[in-house]
């Protein structure tokens, strides 16, 4: 068993699974950073950009839909991860587990 485990962990399939997961979680974390800290830095450095009105007849500032957009974007990123994990990660895990135990 221990030997099987070792060869599985050293297999290119397992390594590529780990690499894929790392790639997608780091990529999504970076996107999350960009959207949230982008918003924060915009407030820090360019308040007037957020303070501009959407059009001449309204009082609504650009900052309001943008704050909502940051929340929506964060949620959408979790949707992307779940769709990816369900479609790609889970079947691969199932396959590798079957290889280790099933035979």
């Amino acid at each position: 068993m221990q030997k099987d485990v070792h060869s599985l962990l050293e297999s290119s399939e397992f390594k590529s699974l780990v690499a894929k997961r790392a790639k997608i979680s780091i990529l999504l974390t970076i996107l999350l950073f960009l959207s949230y800290y982008g918003f924060v830095l915009l407030i820090g450095f360019n308040k007037s950009f957020l303070a501009q009105k959407l059009n001449e007849t309204t009082a609504t500032t650009l900052g309001i839909p943008l704050a909502v957009a940051v929340i929506l974007a964060s949620w959408l990123l979790t949707v992307i991860y779940v769709v990816w994990a369900n479609a790609v990660y889970d079947p691969e895990v199932k396959r590798l587990r079957a290889k280790l135990f099933g035979k």
Binding site: V5, H6, L8, L9, F14, L17, V18, R21, I24, S25, I26, L28, T29, L32, Y36, Y37, F39, V40, L41, I43, G44, F45, K47, L50, A51, T58, A59, T60, T61, G63, I64, A67, V68, V70, I71, L72, S74, W75, L77, T78, V79, Y81, V82, A85, N86, D90, V93, L96, R97, L100
Partner: protein, 525 residues
């Protein structure tokens, strides 16, 4: 949590602060239902797996709601609505920060956490390291986090219950303590989960109803609401104001909010209640959806309160604005709706404090008693008994501290809890999961560095040095309001350097098993 001050309602027509019949009825209904659930749960809570983790029987959807119920505190409900009412757009910026940790939680640790852990996050940190030192260090980080979070919740809840029901502060503390203890002591995680689910549903429904009633007054057009706010208080109410003046301060606070979530013991413990890693992942999707929705609609309630009630009236009842939502509820739906919202706020407090108490008790009994004192050789019965004693002790301490800190400015303690969580618990957790060469000494030093640096730096920061201790402005020795950017970085660095300087062969050998479990869930409990 913004500080709650107690002022007379003055000439304003409100039944706030007097226990009205609807408020009492709603309150009693909630207590009756939750205690009935506790009775039902108590019969299903005999083993440790049931007490700490609800027998891992919670579905992803249920856990998503319970996570929301565990996280959305009275501070975010009443505090953010009040902040938007009094300060406008700045309150919205603040609301966004409370959500962004959830996706990070999903991408980085939700699944490995579920696969590796049993009952506490220390199970994961100590997976392949030496049990005694790592459990003690993790317990220090975990309990400090929970303790500061609890003090802030208890002090806030005492003041809120007093403001809304007119019950004296001390009685309010004891009442919260007793009801919450009944849930945790008899019903364990199963009862706590259902209390959190009920509270989350009530809170989401209550706030949604308020939002719809507000929008109904403005032709269901948010633009009209914003226009009304701008007419009364000037365009500045819809623009960023003074919340973010220094970007580095904002980034430090953002790091604390984002990664602090990944180190909150009571949130992490919820992941052991679902059957597998897939359910853990999906429960975060639900939680992020519910919490995101909540933070999107709560500013509408805040702006509605400013437009329909008026800032002066709100600030007159409570300087921090905490009563904006209850006042608006009374204006929109009369005394019955106020009664409902007051009961919701009360349920919110109970659910959060119950989750915190369970997390602290688990750390005492599972990490310290079983793994340090008994060296892992405790019987099921001994562990259940220890966890109940720890629950009782922590509950009593929480009530005691709540009374001790009466009237103190404890708003900084939530920020401090997040700072410790992201500086002590999070680095050790993530390094232990993903880095082969992480050693026992590295973990202990990372946790202790993070915890003590976070506490020490916040004491000499403007938040405590100036605002709490009353030293002159500008005299703080540490410039940032939240130390996360320094203390979290230091914790990672110390963990890295100490691990390179020490050798932990067992830990390296066990990394294979850990990897198999992290990625494939082989051997997960």
């Amino acid at each position: 949590m913004p500080p709650v001050t107690e002022q007379a309602a003055g000439a304003i027509q409100t039944t706030l602060g007097t226990p009205t019949l609807p408020a009492i009825v709603f309150f009693l209904i909630i207590v009756a239902i939750t205690l009935a659930i506790t009775y039902w749960a108590a019969k299903r809570t005999k083993t440790t797996k049931e007490f700490y983790a609800a027998g891992r029987s919670v579905s992803a959807f249920q856990n998503g709601l319970a996570l929301s119920g565990d996280y959305m505190s009275a501070a975010s409900f009443l505090g953010i609505a009040g902040m938007v009412a009094l300060k406008g757009y700045d309150g919205m910026i603040y609301a966004v920060g409370w959500l962004v940790g959830w996706p990070a939680l999903m991408f980085l640790i939700a699944e490995p956490l579920r696969n590796l852990g049993k009952f506490t996050f220390a199970d994961v940190v100590a997976f392949r390291l030496k049990q005694t030192p790592v459990r003690i260090a993790s317990a220090i980080g975990g309990i400090l986090t929970v303790l500061f979070y609890t003090i802030a919740q208890m002090v806030g809840s005492g003041s809120l219950v007093k403001l809304m029901f007119g019950i004296p502060y001390e009685y309010a503390e004891i009442m919260v303590g007793c009801i919450m203890l009944a849930y945790v002591l008899f019903g364990g995680m199963l009862a706590t989960t259902w209390v959190q689910i009920i509270k989350a549903v009530m809170l989401l429904c209550g706030v949604s109803a308020m939002m719809l009633m507000v929008l109904a007054k403005f032709n269901f057009n948010p633009g009209d609401l914003y226009a009304a706010v701008a007419t009364q208080y000037g365009q500045a109410a819809l623009e960023p104001g003074g919340l973010i003046t220094s970007p580095i301060d904002a980034i430090s606070l953002g790091l604390a909010l984002m990664f602090g979530l990944l180190g909150l013991p009571h949130i992490l413990q919820r992941f052991f209640t679902v059957p597998d890693a897939k359910a853990a992942r999906i429960s975060v999707l639900y939680a992020t959806g519910f919490i995101g929705y909540f933070y999107i609609i709560i500013p509408i309630v805040g702006f509605g309160a400013a437009a329909l009630i008026g800032r002066e009236v709100i600030a007159n009842i409570d300087k921090g604005g905490n009563m904006a939502a209850p006042l608006l509820a009374e204006f929109l739906g009369g005394t019955p709706f106020l009664g409902f919202i007051a009961a919701v706020a009360f349920a919110t407090i109970l659910a959060v404090v119950a989750g915190l108490t369970l997390a602290a008790a688990s750390s005492f009994s599972h990490d310290i008693y079983v793994h340090v004192i008994k060296k892992g050789n405790a019987t099921e019965q001994e562990e259940v008994r220890a966890s109940k004693i720890a629950t009782l002790l922590f509950g009593t301490v929480a009530v005691g501290l709540g009374i001790l800190f009466k009237g103190q400015n404890v708003a900084f303690m939530v920020g401090l809890a997040f700072a410790i969580a992201c500086s002590a618990n999070f680095p050790a957790l993530i390094l232990s999961i993903f880095w082969k060469k992480f050693t026992t000494a590295g973990a202990v030093w990372a946790i202790l560095t993070g915890a003590f640096l976070a506490v020490g730096l916040i004491i000499i920061s403007p938040t405590v040095w100036v605002d709490v201790l009353g030293n002159p402005k500008g005299s703080a020795l540490f410039a940032l309001k939240n130390p996360a950017i320094v203390s979290m970085t230091a914790s990672f660095l110390v963990g890295y350097v100490v691990s390179l300087l020490t050798k932990d062969e067992t830990a390296e050998q066990k990394f294979e098993d850990e990897k198999l479990r992290t990625y494939l869930g082989v051997g997960a409990e």
